[in-house]
């Protein structure tokens, strides 16, 4: 886990910088991206369109989870019905064959939807490394404003470009109103 590496270091998680508006945050993100940082994040009280581009984020993998889980759900749904209707408990229903696949399509479809939706939730949790009981950023009092009216960029100490003196100065240069180190 990421946390282990940080605690192994000098006891700092990284640096937290506050910005006053979505626009200044967006411009700052583009500069952090262009500077070549890789282990960093932006934190906002609400979704901001275009922030993913400004941060240089790649396409999310969640859709792949949805596809795989959705198809698996559909296939498993059909297999389950085949097994129930023709192996485990064969019953003649309205004179049709045991394996009457058209009758099984609605449930196959629903199982596909269930798998796909679960895949979206699970994929999101896995990609976001959730759930977790604590994050180093909560050591900062200031960070509580992130659910209200403040916009933050955090750069982690394990980023190869990180420098405990240079990085806070850089963040102030690109428009941060307040910069503080965060303990791990």
């Amino acid at each position: 886990m990421a946390d282990d590496k940080v605690t192994a270091g000098d006891g700092t998680f990284g640096v937290l910088a506050e910005f006053s508006s979505p626009e200044t945050l967006m411009h700052a993100c583009a500069k952090v991206r262009d500077k070549g940082f890789s282990i960093w994040d932006a934190h906002t009280p609400f979704p901001i369109h275009g922030l993913d581009k400004a941060m240089g984020l790649k396409r999310s993998w969640v859709s792949a989870f949805v596809l795989v889980m959705g198809l698996s759900g559909a296939v498993l749904g059909m297999i389950m019905q085949w097994w129930v209707a023709s192996k485990a408990y064969p019953l003649v229903i309205s004179g049709k064959p045991f394996f009457s696949w058209p009758a099984f399509i609605p449930i196959t479809f629903e199982c596909g939807v269930l798998g796909g939706a679960s895949g979206a939730v699970l994929g999101l949790l896995i990609m976001a490394r959730l759930p977790r009981h604590h994050h180093a950023l909560f050591n900062s009092e200031r960070f509580k404003k992130v659910t209200d009216d403040a916009f933050f960029i955090s750069i982690e100490a394990q980023d190869p470009q990180y420098d405990s003196a240079e990085t806070p100065r850089f963040l102030e240069e690109i428009g941060a109103t307040y910069v503080e180190p965060v303990a791990a």
């Binding site: 369109h49 058209p102 399509i105």
Partner: protein, 399 residues
């Protein structure tokens, strides 16, 4: 967005190379139709081939009407830059009054409930006679065409007026009126499909049939809009106006309605299969018992759903010129197979049998449809230049 995106006049006027198209399309259309009529394959084959072509292009034109109504009903912003082409597509609807004449003249070839002697020996047709009789048939047809002409002319003229005045009240008004417009659209397309397609087999009935036709009609308009706008871009128009963000959305809607079509088609099939009542199942038997029709049915299910579903599911396919063009062309082809599959088993129930008239009638009506479409396109700018949501549409990006 703070800064306005400007639109250059060259980008929103029809490219010069398109000016000859109405003549070419009209010429090809007229020649094909006359040739189809003269070829002498019998009036029955002509009527059925003509009905297939007629319903193909009519559903496309109705798709244009649906697109415009939906645009206003949902108060959408992103689709402003492609709405004008949909307006032109629905602008062809009044012409279908004329194109309906051969269907009306051929009704005795097409609909056997119009034969008095057949009705005399058929209790079910007698029972249905209060609805299925020639007088009421034509009254209903007149009502459908009146509604479609009225709706398409009203929404088109208001939009054209806004091009001059820039009055945002027009958008407000159209948003309000799109709601009853949508109800009228739903009722008319439903009963028109009952009258012109379902009554080919007057013993058969399916309440979802109108929705099935609607599903195909929406698939065809999204495929057609994608092709038309891509061609306009290829000729150097709309370069910075319609972006891949817009095509991505059109592609998503195409994908969505491909699934909707399958959902409705399967719902219609499953209920009839499950109940297994001969009065209903014979319609599917006609498309399954004979091996040639069975393969057509399988081809329809695979080509109209399975293949495009997996093809269109990834994002990049909807954001590439080549792949999106292929998908749109394929869906327009499959829409023809769909209509053919609905119409032709009544005539050739012993086996699938392609006729040259199937092609020439489709081409003939299509040529006239395109001639009207292209000449409407010459008369206005390619986008609604003073729509209050134009800036929103120009700046649109997928979230």
């Amino acid at each position: 967005m703070e800064h306005e995106i400007s639109v250059s006049p060259e980008e929103i006027s029809l490219p010069e190379s398109w000016n000859k198209l109405p003549m070419i399309a009209g010429g090809v259309g007229l020649i094909s139709l006359i040739a189809s009529y003269m070829m002498g394959h019998g009036s029955q084959q002509f009527s059925f081939s003509y009905l297939t072509g007629f319903m193909y292009w009519l559903t496309l034109a109705l798709g244009g009407l649906f697109f415009v109504l939906l645009h206003y009903l949902a108060r959408s912003g992103w689709s402003v830059v492609v709405r004008r082409q949909a307006e032109h597509v629905m602008g062809t609807l009044p012409v279908f009054v004329l194109l309906f004449i051969p269907v009306a003249l051929g009704m005795h070839d097409l609909y056997h409930w119009t034969h008095a002697d057949a009705v005399a020996h058929d209790p079910l047709l007698q029972h249905k006679a209060p609805y299925l009789n020639e007088t009421f048939f034509f009254i209903r047809a007149a009502f459908f065409f009146a509604v479609w002409t009225m709706l398409s002319m009203y929404f088109r003229s208001q939009s054209a007026q806004q091009d001059k005045s820039g009055d945002p009240d027009i958008t407000q008004r159209l948003q309000t009126r799109s709601a009853p417009g949508m109800v009228l659209f739903a009722v008319t397309i439903m009963f028109a499909s009952f009258d012109w397609l379902m009554s080919l087999e007057p013993h058969w009935f399916s309440t979802i049939f109108g929705v099935y036709i609607f599903a195909g009609c929406v698939v065809s308009i999204f495929a057609f809009l994608i092709l038309l706008v891509l061609q306009l871009k290829g000729s150097g128009a709309l370069t910075h106006i319609v972006t891949w963000e817009h095509f991505h959305d059109l592609g998503k809607l195409l994908f969505g309605f491909v699934v909707f079509w399958a959902y409705i088609g399967f719902s219609q099939f499953m209920l009839i299969w499950y109940a297994n009542i001969p009065e209903e199942t014979f319609w599917f038997d006609m498309r399954w018992d004979d091996p040639t029709w069975r393969w057509t049915s399988i081809f329809l299910a695979a080509g109209h759903f399975v293949v495009p579903f997996f093809f269109l599911i990834t994002q990049w396919v909807k954001r590439q010129r080549l792949t999106l063009t292929l998908a749109a062309l394929w869906m327009l082809f499959m829409h023809y197979v769909d209509i053919y599959w609905l119409v032709m088993p009544t005539l050739h129930h012993e086996a699938f049998q392609l006729s040259v008239l199937d092609f020439t009638c489709w081409l003939g009506i299509g040529g006239l449809f395109l001639a009207v479409l292209f000449s409407l396109m010459q008369r206005s700018t390619l986008i609604p230049v003073k729509d209050p949501r134009l800036q929103e549409s120009l700046a649109f990006e997928n979230p």
